[in-house]
């Protein structure tokens, strides 16, 4: 589904991503972990086609991520999802539905469905300027799962949420996971990742320092947090 082959991204003299290669298979729940500034969001931006790699290739279903075809069956939730303040949640979702090829009654039905999934029924007609962070995040997830995507890209989806908000979003993600989606999660909330993911890649200073299944990584009774701290501090030394 996703292939990054020897990808490097430079911003001036800074190497944000340095020769990163990995693969995410269909139906896999893949988590990319790393401290702030490790290069996780840069990878997400390359997968979205927002920025181009300096070298290497980023493919989604065999199509370069920069091509719009790669985003046909694709959902994306940003860290602190932004919704234009003049739109209501419903209008925002209808726009997403329209942009993903749905129209008329089909769009309405699909929007109603995703509003139910993220438990926003009854609040979807309110202006988004009055939404809390958690509500915006839920609407973001609703937009991402419109039109049954094959790949869901989550960039720090619970960042800035209170414990209840985190639990809500986690429940939504777990429900989605059971529906057989491929999920690419970018997070530094290790306890969340440990509970949900199949495969983990740990990034530090733009490089992948470890990639394996969650069971192999935590095989010796260590928690993911301990493994993560070990790898990152070892690299920093």
């Amino acid at each position: 589904m996703i292939i990054l082959d020897n990808v490097t991204k430079k911003f001036g003299a800074l190497k944000a991503v340095d020769q990163v290669s990995f693969q995410v298979n269909n139906d896999e729940f893949f988590a990319l972990l790393g401290p702030n500034g490790a290069g996780k969001t840069t990878i997400i931006r390359m997968l979205l086609g927002f920025i181009q790699p300096t070298s290497g290739s980023v493919l989604i279903n065999g199509i370069p991520a920069s091509q719009t075809k790669a985003r046909k069956k694709f959902g994306y939730v940003a860290e602190q999802h932004m919704i234009p303040p003049y739109l209501s949640g419903l209008e925002y979702l209808l726009r997403h539905a329209s942009l993903s090829g749905l129209s008329g009654k089909n769009a309405r039905i699909e929007v109603e469905r995703v509003v139910e999934v993220v438990s926003m029924s009854g609040k979807e007609k309110d202006k988004s300027s009055g939404y809390s962070k958690g509500m915006k995040q839920r609407i973001g997830i609703a937009a991402a799962i419109l039109n049954n995507p094959e790949l869901l890209m989550l960039d720090e989806p619970v960042s800035g949420l209170d414990p209840l908000g985190i639990m809500d979003v986690r429940n939504v993600i777990n429900d989605l996971r059971s529906s057989g989606l491929t999920i690419f999660l970018n997070s530094h909330l290790l306890s969340e990742v440990e509970k949900t993911c199949d495969t983990i890649a740990i990034m530090n200073k733009g490089r992948i320092v470890k990639k394996d299944s969650i069971n192999s990584i935590c095989a010796h009774g260590e928690t993911l947090e301990e493994v993560f701290v070990n790898y990152v501090t070892k690299e920093n030394k």
Binding site: F50, R71, Y86
Partner: protein, 264 residues
């Protein structure tokens, strides 16, 4: 997708109440000043046909006002989308970058041209109230002047990709002003009175940049000649509409190229 983005742009603009307020105030002002259209003007002791002159002046004032207004609206197109998440909404979907950027530009142009068209229509209405005649040539002239609006929108959008918003708007207005001074000066110096009084000034040749500079003023002069049903005399052999269209095409290509390379 391109059409959808145009529609979203228009819907987003017309949902703002100040849009209707501004339109209502502008129309009301025109009606309040309708007396000017039939006033008795005397210049050098001679009575002047007021309706034609005043309506043409109002027509051009509306265009100038719209040029300033669109420069202010356009400077925020890309930066507002970046700040409120609209750009992520569009580009995380199967929307091509050219569809997004051209859709935003085209939407703004259609809306502002519509706004200007309504104001020009009001002038026609006032003339009709005075004379019972419908001078539809004003509408043709209005469409011609909308090309100038497109030029300013594209210029501001292009500059806003690498300059602060307000600087982009000011730079575009600067281009407009230089063109108006240069071509307006040429028009004055080539007028019948001046060619008679001071033939040496009138005969002086133009610097090449003045011939190829964006002919915003000349487009309006051309629109005026349509209203006035008079002969149009431009600068050089290239028609001002061709000149402006070439500049618009160039600016659009540059905008698309820079936006394509832009990191979101």
């Amino acid at each position: 997708m391109f059409i959808k983005i145009i529609l979203f742009t228009i819907i987003d603009q017309i949902r703002v109440k100040s849009f209707y307020l501004l339109l209502a105030i502008s129309i009301s002002l025109l009606f309040v000043m309708r007396g000017c259209f039939s006033a008795d003007y005397v210049i050098n002791g001679q009575h002047v046909e007021s309706l034609g002159h005043v309506s043409r002046i109002f027509f051009q004032v509306i265009v100038m006002g719209m040029l300033l207004m669109v420069s202010m609206i356009s400077m925020k197109i890309f930066s507002r989308d970046q700040n409120d998440g609209s750009v992520h909404m569009f580009l995380s979907r199967p929307v091509k970058r050219w569809e997004y950027s051209l859709g935003r530009i085209a939407g703004t142009w259609i809306l502002s041209s519509g706004f200007m068209f309504i104001l020009h229509l009001t002038i026609i209405l006032i003339i009709w109230l005075h004379t019972n005649e419908m001078p539809v040539r004003y509408l043709g002239a209005s469409i011609i002047c909308s090309v100038n609006l497109l030029f300013i929108i594209v210029a501001v959008c292009l500059f806003s990709l690498f300059l602060p918003d307000f600087v982009s708007a000011m730079l575009s207005i600067g281009i407009l002003c230089i063109g108006f001074v240069s071509d307006g000066g040429y028009k004055v110096f080539s007028s019948e009175i001046l060619t008679t009084l001071a033939p040496s000034i009138a005969d002086s040749s133009l610097a090449p940049w003045r011939v190829f500079y964006p002919k915003l003023f000349m487009v309006q002069a051309y629109a005026d000649s349509i209203i006035n049903q008079s002969n149009f005399m431009g600068i050089g052999s290239i028609h001002p509409l061709v000149n402006i269209s070439m500049f618009i095409a160039l600016l659009i290509m540059l905008t698309l190229f820079i936006f394509y390379k832009k990191e979101i």
